[in-house]
């Protein structure tokens, strides 16, 4: 077989050009975030506070979540930084690589763009090879920048050697996930399957190391690239061999992907695609059924995400006072006001719970907006017109998606509450300070605020679809107003632009005031109705 790699170089250039914006953004956000947080974290804790903190970290639940505690006997800022940050940054870098690799391999194939490229004098492996080289370049840049950025933060225990190791771990784990994704892109015959399996593996690796770390089974943790990377103990022992093992792993996995790619047909995978149904079920044939089908997977994923997020917050409520009690900054973030409440264990727990409930409500807005924006994206991909050209009135079309968003808001809030409660109770038992009823009441009382968000989104999609993305700007504002509005000194009128501002805090003992809830519901209904009407009247747009 001659020239399997022919034209790799040109493809690399082409890919780098396509990556100019998106990968630069990923790298900058990851590096700047990592860099920005280091001095703050170092400044927030003195040696004593760190020792206090690390003794709190040293329990099975925290170890399962955050990884093993290293360097506890001399817990420097660097040791703390690695302990708190590395695992999560590695997961983020993994996600970046899954998207990066699938974008240039399966996505191009699935969309039919690879076909013409392959009809040119381009080697069978050139595209995969170019993708891996591109991933290599991007991960090396990320690693180097990360190393340098952390080294110049000037935190005393974060020296150049440790920082470069920290950066190298980012690069190496990134490459492992690039290779894993490349492998799944050969196995699965479509992009959704390939990215789905890659994310699944990412999650499995997190769990494997959680079990390994908690049960102190080193070999188990080391099977997971995430667990292996933590063994490097950047800023503590600075052990380099995990980096090399990770690089070796990525080379081996990539080699398998190359082998498979060389023998397979374009558009085909090794996992046989499940044949679709020959006929649409009666349900799918309806407008509503189609909307449900299109939103189903993402809604299910979000339900699981909300439940697990809730559960993971719930799991730390039991000893939250130990984590934040000593830190005025954390207490301030929780909205704790020592003039109003005493810093008892239970009070801190309730403040934390109320913080979690509003935080989760904000997260919940994302899938709701996605659902309402779906008809707009369908429009952009010219699929909406095929439905609308049939017998479905425009009104019913958008109404189906909106109705699903409303229904989802209820389910999501409900599952969040159940998630938080079940894990809090399973850890704290009888000592759990709150009842499920209170939490449910709190979560559900946010619903009218969520509906207003839905309403605004519907209105935008109906009225100015081109600018419907502005809903994310509004979401950003609501987010900031909720957590930092008061710290930043937002005036009352500005705060009240956020629907969440009007919800009384049931968890902290306020009575539900129904008037604002009714008004919000009415506003939501008006916005939604107006959106429907505008949508029915306007042209389909690309």
């Amino acid at each position: 077989m001659s020239g399997n790699f022919n034209n790799t170089g040109r493809l690399v250039k082409f890919m780098l050009k396509r990556e100019l914006v998106i990968s630069t953004a990923w790298i900058l956000i990851i590096v700047l975030f990592s860099m920005g947080i280091a001095p703050g974290m170092a400044g927030m804790f003195d040696t004593e506070a760190r020792e206090q903190f690390v003794s709190n970290m040293d329990n099975p639940v925290m170890i399962a979540m955050m990884g093993p505690v290293y360097g506890a006997d001399n817990y420097t800022s660097g040791a703390m930084y690695t302990g708190m940050m590395l695992l999560w940054i590695l997961i983020t870098v993994g996600i970046m690589n899954v998207f990066l690799v699938s974008r240039h391999t399966r996505a191009d194939e699935e969309k039919g763009r690879a076909e013409v490229v392959r009809s040119l004098p381009v080697g069978r492996l050139a595209n995969l090879n170019a993708t891996m080289i591109t991933a290599f370049i991007i991960n090396v840049i990320l690693g180097l920048l990360m190393g340098l950025a952390l080294a110049v933060t000037g935190v005393e225990s974060m020296d150049l050697a440790g920082s470069m190791l920290y950066g190298a771990l980012n690069c190496a784990v990134g490459l492992v996930f690039a290779a894993i994704t490349a492998l799944f892109c050969q196995l699965s015959s479509n992009k959704g399957g390939a990215t789905g399996l890659s994310f699944l593996i990412l999650g499995v690796f997190y769990m494997i190391r959680a079990v390994g770390d908690m049960q102190q089974i080193e070999i188990l943790s080391c099977i997971s690239p995430l667990g292996l990377a933590l063994r490097s103990q950047a800023y503590i022992e600075n052990i380099w061999w995990p980096v090399f093992i990770l690089l070796l792993e990525s080379i081996i996995i990539a080699a398998i992907a190359y082998k498979l790619n060389a023998v397979r047909d374009l558009d085909q995978g090794f996992i046989p695609a499940r044949p679709g149904k020959k006929e649409a079920s009666a349900f799918l044939r309806s407008n509503f059924g189609l909307a449900f089908r299109l939103l189903r997977t993402s809604l299910i994923v979000w339900l699981i995400v909300m439940f697990s997020l809730g559960a993971s917050y719930g799991s730390i409520i039991g000893n939250i006072d130990e984590f934040v009690g000593g830190s005025p900054e954390y207490m301030q973030i929780l909205g704790f006001d020592s003039a109003v409440a005493e810093a008892t264990k239970e009070n801190i727990q309730m403040y934390f719970l109320s913080f979690v409930a509003s935080m989760m409500t904000l997260v919940c807005i994302v899938p709701l907006i996605n659902a309402v924006m779906k008809p707009k994206n369908e429009e952009k991909e010219h699929r909406a017109e095929q439905v609308l050209a049939r017998v479905v009135p425009r009104f019913n079309y958008i109404a189906a998606y909106t109705a699903l968003a409303y229904a989802a808001s209820l389910l999501l809030q409900f599952l969040t509450a159940v998630g938080i409660y079940s894990s809090a109770v399973s850890i704290a038992g009888d000592a759990n300070p709150f009842a499920l009823g209170t939490l449910l009441k709190a979560c559900l009382s946010y619903l009218p605020a969520l509906w207003v968000m839905i309403g605004v989104a519907v209105l935008l999609v109906g009225f100015i679809p081109k600018a419907a993305g502005a809903i994310w700007g509004y979401f950003g504002f609501v987010f900031i107003a909720s957590f930092m509005g008061e710290v930043l000194g937002f005036p009352e009128w500005l705060l009240s632009v956020s629907p969440l501002h009007h919800i009384s805090n049931v968890i902290l003992g306020d009575d539900i005031s129904f008037m604002p809830l009714i008004i919000l519901t009415v506003i939501a209904a008006v916005l939604t109705a107006a959106g429907f009407i505008f949508y029915s009247k306007r042209d389909t747009q690309a």
């Binding site: 040109r10 392959r118 009809s119």
Partner: protein, 296 residues
């Protein structure tokens, strides 16, 4: 020399047989029309030829080289236009053309400009904004700018308007006159009739007919309209006569092409006043093979 040589080609997708023993040869300077109903296996044949699907059995060669093993060598000398062109939404048409041209390694700026003008394509627009026809033009421009020895085209004009279709046909004829071979899968029969020297009809993965248009016409019936002084006797009894109808004092009927001599000499005995014959169109040919129960 045969440019394309396909011997007993079989391609299976799992249990499904998409190509079932195709034999085909295409020579230099020849335009070969590949026609058949949807799902017949046209695109599959082309994808095997491009080395992006591996044959299950059989042999396919282009320029005497194996289509799978020597794909890169072959691709230096061919140009391909798919029926459904998909491009990167964030790149402009011009950028994509340049990418394709640079991957091929040859560069003829003048020709690129000329083709852009001929196909009336604005290369500065993002591919996201292109219609199907415009995306097709991007592929056509980069194909014809390439100076290939073989053009493989899979329903390349399905999104073009009649004016552009005309431009396309001119381009094909120009390449043909330069001695290039062209493999054209198409649904537009007038296009095939105008351009192609030979035609192959594929149905359910089998090549049911190949030959020049003239040869294929022999396989079908000619429509005859005739008026005679005396009524024609015994027409029914002749071999190869079908569907006799009386009209305006004359007769309409169909004759199998190979029986036409006998029939004419029979008719001549009755004093012919008027005789018209209409050759079978490609449509007739087509329909004969398209109807699952049609033909033999």
């Amino acid at each position: 020399m045969a440019i394309i040589e396909i011997k007993n080609l079989i391609k299976k997708f799992g249990k499904f047989t998409a190509l079932d023993g195709i034999n085909l040869e295409i020579n230099e300077g020849e335009v070969f029309g590949y026609i058949g109903p949807n799902g017949a296996g046209k695109t599959t044949t082309i994808r095997v030829l491009l080395g992006i699907l591996q044959a299950t059995k059989g042999d396919a060669k282009i320029f005497g080289l194996d289509v799978w093993k020597d794909a890169v060598e072959i691709h230096k000398r061919i140009a391909y236009v798919p029926g459904d062109v998909n491009l990167w939404p964030n790149l402009t048409g011009g950028e994509v053309i340049d990418l394709f041209v640079s991957l091929r390694g040859k560069h003829d700026k003048e020709r690129r400009e000329k083709l852009l003008k001929m196909f009336d394509l604005d290369p500065s627009k993002k591919c996201r904004t292109y219609s199907k026809g415009n995306r097709q033009k991007v592929a056509l421009v980069s194909a014809f700018a390439s100076d290939a020895d073989l053009y493989i085209l899979d329903e390349p004009t399905s999104g073009l308007d009649p004016l552009m279709e005309q431009v396309f046909q001119e381009c094909i004829l120009e390449q043909k006159n330069n001695g290039k071979a062209i493999f054209l899968s198409s649904h537009i029969l007038s296009e095939v009739e105008r351009l192609c020297d030979r035609v192959g009809i594929i149905r359910e993965g089998k090549l049911v007919e190949t030959g020049t248009l003239d040869q294929l016409r022999h396989l079908t019936r000619v429509m005859i309209t005739v008026a005679t002084e005396n009524p024609i006797e015994d027409l029914n009894g002749l071999n190869g006569v079908h569907d006799i109808e009386e009209r305006h004092g004359g007769l309409n009927f169909q004759v199998d092409s190979h029986e036409i001599g006998n029939v004419i000499s029979h008719i001549a005995k009755f004093g012919v006043k008027k005789l018209e014959s209409t050759p079978p169109t490609l449509e007739d040919l087509f329909m004969r093979h398209y109807n699952t129960d049609g033909g033999e």
